[in-house]
Symmetry: C2
Subunit: 337 residues, 2 copies
């Protein structure tokens, strides 16, 4: 009888309608199902998304010639085939330099939904963010002038910029970054979780619904909220109690806090945390419970949350490998030093 | 009158039928126009090409997790978007190591038509070749055991191998290399030059036909012959007269000779020669005339040959970027040291 009552209670709380309402109350939002709504949400009003810009942005994102060495592209660390990251605990850049701050590469997928970019949240959007790693010494190490010289030296790139922005376009470093951002804005991965929140009551299995409920009830959605289940706030005090986890000189934002990462495709982006110090999802969930919620999550609760998180694996975009336009005698020489 | 006679003579020698015969006599062969003939020519009888193997081979070719560091894939140096090479004079591998022999990365495109792989021609085919760079310390630096451990740790890779080779497949290092080779065997780029040799008399422009004639008449096809316009023999004595061009310790084959590279897509694979010491196609043509043919090619002849070589730019394959299967706790850790 007791078992029956408990089952009935659990079943009631897992009624799809109730759970969808609970999720909404907890600040969770789906990727819109309608293409028009999604485009409106992800397109930059100041630089609207067009097919010509996306194609060009994809090329620039994947072209290693934008780096000083000619060896590193945005895609090297934010590999669209590896969940938008690189599987490293610490990013590796120009001259095989480990990220001096001990930081791992955040995924590019669904980063368009973030209100703050970089682990310290210092950048407001992808257009601004894209300028950073290209120039950073331990990443692509390319001065602005190198990037614009490379792109302007290649007639097909110039033609593509003209097609995207009009004949009179001036190809500045900022224009290159803006165009990369247009491509990145298309990298969204709707999942069964979104189908569920968008009204398909059967899109999640019962264990996944249970996991979502546990996720909400335990308070995970306090930080991992909105569309990306992250990316909207800072949490996790790196300079305080959990200093021992740091491996570089990363101090977080002005309050010592780290930007909350997305949980979408989290199965694909180990190792976890800003410093890549946690290897498995189970460990990450327990550690977050302990650090952020002051709660000891038992094995069942952890497994339940993990089951839910796996349902966040999204439908990945179909990306055709770009055939880059050819360099010529006026293209700046690569420099590996 | 003189001009008229000369024009008439040139015109006669450029009669498509005559030129096609001349090309054939010079040992030049087209990529077959028929898909069946091409497949027969490029498929390995011991490991026939199938769609399942090609898809898996593409993933393995592009997966950086096969390297010790987790950062370098076959595609890093043989970038299918950069003409199958990397634009570097000397390849850069594990720990940012420049190729100790001062060698550049040969293109992967049309390498299936070579009878000898590597710059010293020491390897007979792609299956054998693919084993080299994965293990080489200054390239991907991965012991065989690392590669098999990575692949066997990922259930989706195991499933793909089973789909490609049957349930009882044993995923050895050699099997991984064989499968990469199956993908590479599909990387062929038919061009207007092939259309011409295959019977379309109008596939080349008159200047391109003139260039082909110059190419044959000057003797370029002596070494740059067969389907790849290269890849069948050794020439260019590195330890002899042109020692000054070497930058590493590369000594060539047992006779000090270097394998003749393909001229297909040559516009995309600068810098030129085994050591990447020549920046432009014009320089490369003149230098080859001087070194190999003992001839001084004047500017007109050089430009004419260059015009022909540009017609070797092929139709590139459409390659979908692979979404790699996810690593897990049993996947060997990356090691950047």
């Amino acid at each position: 009888m007791k078992v029956f009552v408990l089952s009935a209670l659990v079943a009631a709380s897992l009624m799809a309608g109730t759970l969808q309402t609970d999720a909404k109350k907890a600040g969770l939002k789906p990727i819109p199902a309608s293409v028009a709504a999604l485009n409106k949400l992800t397109s930059n009003p100041k630089n609207p998304t067009t097919a010509a810009k996306v194609e060009l942005g994809k090329m620039l994102y994947m072209d290693p010639r934008l780096s000083k060495s000619g060896l590193i592209s945005c895609n090297s660390c934010h590999n669209v085939g590896l969940g938008g990251s690189d599987g490293m605990s610490s990013a590796v850049g120009h001259k095989w330099t480990l990220n001096p701050h001990g930081l791992s590469s955040p995924t590019v997928y669904n980063a368009v939904f973030y209100s703050q970019q970089f682990w310290d949240g210092r950048s407001p959007h992808l257009e601004d963010q894209a300028q950073g790693p290209i120039q950073a010494g331990p990443e692509m190490a390319a001065p602005k002038e190198h990037v614009t010289a490379v792109v302007n030296s290649i007639p097909q790139y110039v033609a593509m910029f003209q097609k995207a922005y009009g004949k009179d376009v001036k190809i500045t470093f900022e224009k290159v970054a803006d165009t990369i951002a247009v491509f990145e804005r298309t990298l969204v991965t709707p999942s069964r979780y979104d189908d569920f929140l968008n009204g398909n009551k059967n899109a999640l299995t019962t264990p996944e619904k249970k996991g979502l409920k546990t996720f909400i009830d335990k308070g995970c959605a306090t930080c991992h909220n909105d569309i990306a289940l992250g990316g909207t706030m800072q949490a996790f005090n790196v300079t305080g109690q959990y200093k021992h986890m740091n491996v570089g000189d990363f101090k977080g934002d002005k309050n010592g806090m780290v930007r909350v990462p997305t949980l979408r495709n989290i199965t694909k982006t180990s190792p976890y945390f800003h410093n890549g110090q946690i290897a498995t999802l189970g460990e990450a969930i327990k550690e977050m419970g302990r650090i952020q919620l002051g709660a000891t999550l038992n094995d069942d609760e952890t497994a339940s949350i993990e089951t839910f998180l796996k349902a966040l694996d999204g439908r990945m975009p179909n990306i055709t490998y770009p055939m880059f336009p050819t360099s010529n005698a006026t293209t700046p020489k690569v420099d590996v030093n």
